[in-house]
Amino acid sequence: MKDTHTIAAISTPQGEGGIGIIRISGDEAIRIGSKILSHPSGKKITFWPERQVRLGLAVSPDGTIIDEVIYFFFKKNRSYTGEDVLEIQGHGGYQNLKKILTYTIKAGAQLAEPGEFTKRAYLNGRLDLTQAEAVIDLIRSRTDLAHQVALTQLRGELSTVIKEQETRLLELLVPIEAALDFPEDEIPDLEREQALNVIQTVQQELENLLAQADKGIILREAASVVLAGRPNVGKSSLLNRLLGEERAIVTPIPGTTRDFVAETIDLDGVPVRLIDTAGIREIDNVVEKAGVERAWQIIREADLILAVLDSATEMSREDQEMINSIKQKKAVIILNKTDLPVKLFSEDLRAKFPGYTILSVSAITGVGIKALKDVIREELMGICGTDEHPVLVTKLRHKEALEEAVERLHSVAEGLQLQCSEDLLAGDIRSALEALGRITGRSVSEEIINEIFSQFCIGK
């Protein structure tokens, strides 16, 4: 019946490193290991002690020595994946590692898919969902800051914060439930004011998490920053300048950047996906029209819009309409081409578009680009990612659960003040707990009942 194969992969990044690791996971780990490894003396390895560093040789099927290696063996249920795991450390050199991996696969292993070790760890109950997701993020994290956040989550800090709130809510809920189920026993009445305090404290804690959530999601997914503007204002040049290298095709003929160019950059730790749209203007050409529609779609979904104007020409109707049409979005107005004689001044724009940050830059010379990068980062992240404002929530799933919990608690707070009946209050607290449980995996229904009996003397 069994069909979970043994998997193998190089677990260290590609490139020239001091050492490189090959990880093999599955029931066949030892059988495969004994084919590709030998004792330093050249003898076959028959003894695989658990969790001990051993010296050995990596050999090809014809007995040629590829590398001198050390290896560890982890037994099923005591390894990362929950399966038998063999880790082989070779002496760096990507070619060497690749050779060993090739023989590992010849010996019967299958090449692991990205994240497959973690997936197995999750399926075998070695990691909870939050942790597994954090590991995947860690592997995929694009920037240092994103990496840090993933690490915090792996250590379970999000769970810790939320579990504290769960405990507070549970302590509040238990006497209410006890009184509902055992009206004839002596259970103290609900102190509404005290309860309100607890609810508001928890609400605040969760809202603090939520306040950073959008930023967390940006750190994980990368923010989408869209360059918008009519053709030939220099969007592509600006994109290339931000990327620090020439990439998009730049021509002075309107409409050449027809498809979208998207590149991800690391803006002081914030992953930013820069998207250049086709010049937005009204056109009859069907093909181009489709492109324009897609541009609007991308603009609607953007986290930030860079509205690019040409400072060397007068403001056109198109420019005006473009800025009007993105009123609902977070945007920065950029006056490009300051290297040319200026006809459109930032002072005029400031009067016209109050509330917008307006920056003058030259994509050609690089003037103002540093300031632009700072503005983008600040618009996206504010003051997050510092010690006082740690980012813990990076998943949409978590954000939604938190939002639901906050909404339920809001209803509890309102109910407490409006003298709502206890069954409704208890119901809302339970819903909040249920929502939080989707993050921590804690199911409280049995806990409530156990607590009722351990705290109150029930039974007439």
């Binding site: 009184a179 189920d181 206890e422 069954d423 009996f453 003397c457 029930i458 039974g459």
Partner: protein, 620 residues
């Protein structure tokens, strides 16, 4: 002698009576076997029915066409409405009953059912012969039936403890059932031991009620039954008094004589119904505990001492009772005791209450590890209906957790490792606001009628009630309060609420200040008397938001309930399951993914692994 019936029900307690009634109403000849014809529907413990959760069960059983509701209404001594200020979800009726009258009425009702034969006799053997069961009595008489329902309560290998004295016995000095337990065990049914207990009974005239607080009944406007007209009786009071330090000291001094504390009892006791020695040990900080003195009937002087359940020696029970105000001169009629008994390990049960792999053999009541007359009756009616459906070759009747407390109860039984007799509680129900006692018929009467447990006439009553509800709802929907109108002025006088714009009555009822009775008064619709329909209408409108949320939750639940797991699914073939989950799943053999998710030790990770694997094996 008639030897062939469609169904044999073993035991005529609260589960057995409901089971026999249900399956007989479905048109099947039913043999109801009891150890003692005098003890049908006997209440060996508290002479009380209902309370939060339990009262909902009674209403649900009644809505399906069961007996406990009507029988309680007819034999009640007092009725109280509990939790009246704590919201519609937890409002509950509780009745003190005349236990003797309760028995007589139940016996007489069953005797009049043409398809039920009640027979006194001890079943000593069950044997599967082809597709029939042979039920053998200890007298050697045999019956051949396709379906058996076992509802033996606490009788299976019952063992009573009073102090260090212990002996084989059923409850309150009745004959235990030993041979049957041994016979079933030999055939492979696995049992575990549970323990329960009851307090002493005392003589009324030996008590000094002047030293206690009177607990009169309420003037409730309806009883449990949807079908019988409510006939209030002159309420008989209960009495409240308290234990004190002296009581506790005597108990502490004698703990070495308590079977629960000296190791004589191996069965597991209940947390919600602890003995007084249990309360004293677990809650040493409490300086007193409540003691309720409750009447057992109109034609008896015996009274029940709620709160002093004990298995200490009779003399010690007598001694500590005398320290309680009003009980100084107490005369004991019977001592309290603890009883240990066999329960079927619940992982053998299907949601239909049939034993897995034993076609046509159903279990109901305390034998399944529950406690309480209401819980027993609930399983009885379900087992009865499922016995009938089995005989017809139809799919079993399974109530979902969002449909009824009965659904919660049975689902909990088959998915949870209960370490004590199971008692229903409102906090076990995720859909508490939907499972109100006043809408039990709206949730369940259609089933009751479909299975023929409700008569045409009863169903007609129900349809009329439903129509009244709809009429009231549409009146509220289409009638408006206009600013400055006579009605708006009167409403302001009554409630202080200003109507500033055209508002439908339905909309106005959502305001916390406005009650339906006030609206009726304002619009001269009827007297202030709150009818059951009004309660339904008011709750539907006032709690609409909450009810809609529960409905959404129910939809999500339904999705997982619709994912069936093949009964022969090999959990050991799923390598990604955690060790614990694999063991538990293999033991409980959930019928749906929903059930699997409620088994403790089965994590979301296990569930996704299971889902992946099920999809895979289906493809193969």
């Amino acid at each position: 002698m008639k030897k062939n019936y469609d169904v044999a029900v073993i035991g005529a307690g609260h589960a057995g009576c409901e089971a026999a009634n249900a399956v007989a109403k479905m048109g099947f000849t039913t043999l109801l076997l009891t150890l003692n014809f005098n003890n049908i529907a006997f209440m060996p413990c508290n002479p009380s029915v209902g309370g939060p959760g339990k009262g909902n069960l009674v209403r649900e059983i009644d809505a399906l066409g069961g007996l406990i509701g009507r029988n309680t209404d007819q034999s009640h001594l007092q009725m109280r409405a509990l939790n009246t200020q704590k919201g519609p979800a937890v409002r509950a009726l509780r009745a003190q009953t005349d236990k003797h009258l309760y028995q007589q009425l139940m016996q007489y009702y069953l005797e009049r059912q043409p398809l039920i034969s009640i027979r006194q006799g001890e079943v000593s053997m069950l044997k599967r012969i082809k597709n029939h069961w042979r039920v053998t009595l200890n007298t050697g008489v045999c019956y051949e039936v396709p379906v058996v329902i076992i509802a033996t309560g606490t009788f299976l290998r019952g063992k009573v403890h009073v102090g260090l004295l212990s002996y084989s016995s059923g409850p309150q000095g009745q004959h235990p059932s030993i041979a049957l337990a041994e016979n079933l065990e030999a055939q492979g049914i696995r049992f575990k031991r549970f323990k329960t207990g009851t307090p002493a009974r005392v003589r009324k005239r030996s008590l000094d009620f002047s030293r206690m607080i009177e607990q009169p009944g309420d003037g409730v406007t309806h009883g449990f039954s949807h079908w019988l007209p409510w006939e209030p009786k002159k309420p008989i009071s209960c009495w409240l008094t308290y234990t004190n330090e002296k009581t506790h000291q005597i108990i502490k001094n004698n703990l070495h004589l308590a079977p629960m504390y000296c190791g004589a009892i191996t069965g597991i006791g209940t947390r919600y119904c602890p003995s007084i020695e249990g309360k004293v040990v677990t809650f040493p900080q409490r300086d007193r505990h409540q003691v309720f003195i409750e009447p057992e009937g109109l034609n008896t002087d015996e009274m029940y001492v709620a709160g002093l359940s004990s298995s200490l020696p009779e003399e010690i029970q007598d001694e500590f009772m005398r320290t309680v105000p009003g009980l100084e001169e107490v005369e004991m009629v019977r001592p309290g005791y603890a009883i240990e008994y066999d329960v079927v390990a619940p992982d053998q049960l299907l949601t239909s209450l049939q034993i897995r792999e034993w076609p046509g053999l159903f279990c109901a009541g305390q034998i399944n590890g529950t406690s309480g007359y209401e819980e027993a009756a609930a399983q009885g009616i379900v087992a009865g209906i499922n016995a009938g459906l089995y005989l017809k070759g139809e799919e079993p009747f399974v109530l979902q957790r969002n449909e009824a407390y009965i659904g919660v109860l049975i689902d909990d039984l088959v998915t949870k490792e209960n370490n004590e007799p199971y008692r229903i509680m409102t906090s076990r129900a995720e859909f508490r606001l939907s499972l109100r006692q006043e809408n039990a018929d709206l949730r369940l009467a259609d089933y009751g009628y479909k299975f023929k447990l409700l008569s045409d006439q009863e169903y007609q009553t129900f349809m009329e009630k439903k129509e009244k509800i709809n009429n009231k709802l549409s009146f509220l929907e289409t009638t408006y309060l206009l600013p400055g109108s006579v009605e708006a002025d009167q409403l302001k006088k009554e409630t202080g609420v200003d109507i500033l714009q055209k508002t439908s009555l339905r909309q106005s009822l959502k305001m916390p200040e406005i009650q339906l009775t006030v609206l009726w008064k304002t619009f001269n619709q009827q007297s202030n008397q709150t009818t059951e329909e009004d309660e339904v209408v008011e709750n539907l409108i006032k709690y609409q938001g909450y009810l809609e949320r529960e409905a959404k939750m129910a939809e999500r639940l339904q999705k997982t309930e619709n994912k069936k797991i093949p009964s022969d699914f090999d959990y050991f073939s799923v390598p990604n399951l955690s060790f614990e989950a694999r063991e538990k799943l293999n033991k409980f053999r959930p019928e749906t993914m929903g059930q699997a998710s409620r088994i403790s030790g089965v994590s979301p990770a296990d569930l996704s692994a299971l889902l992946i694997w099920m999809t895979r094996s289906r493809k193969k």
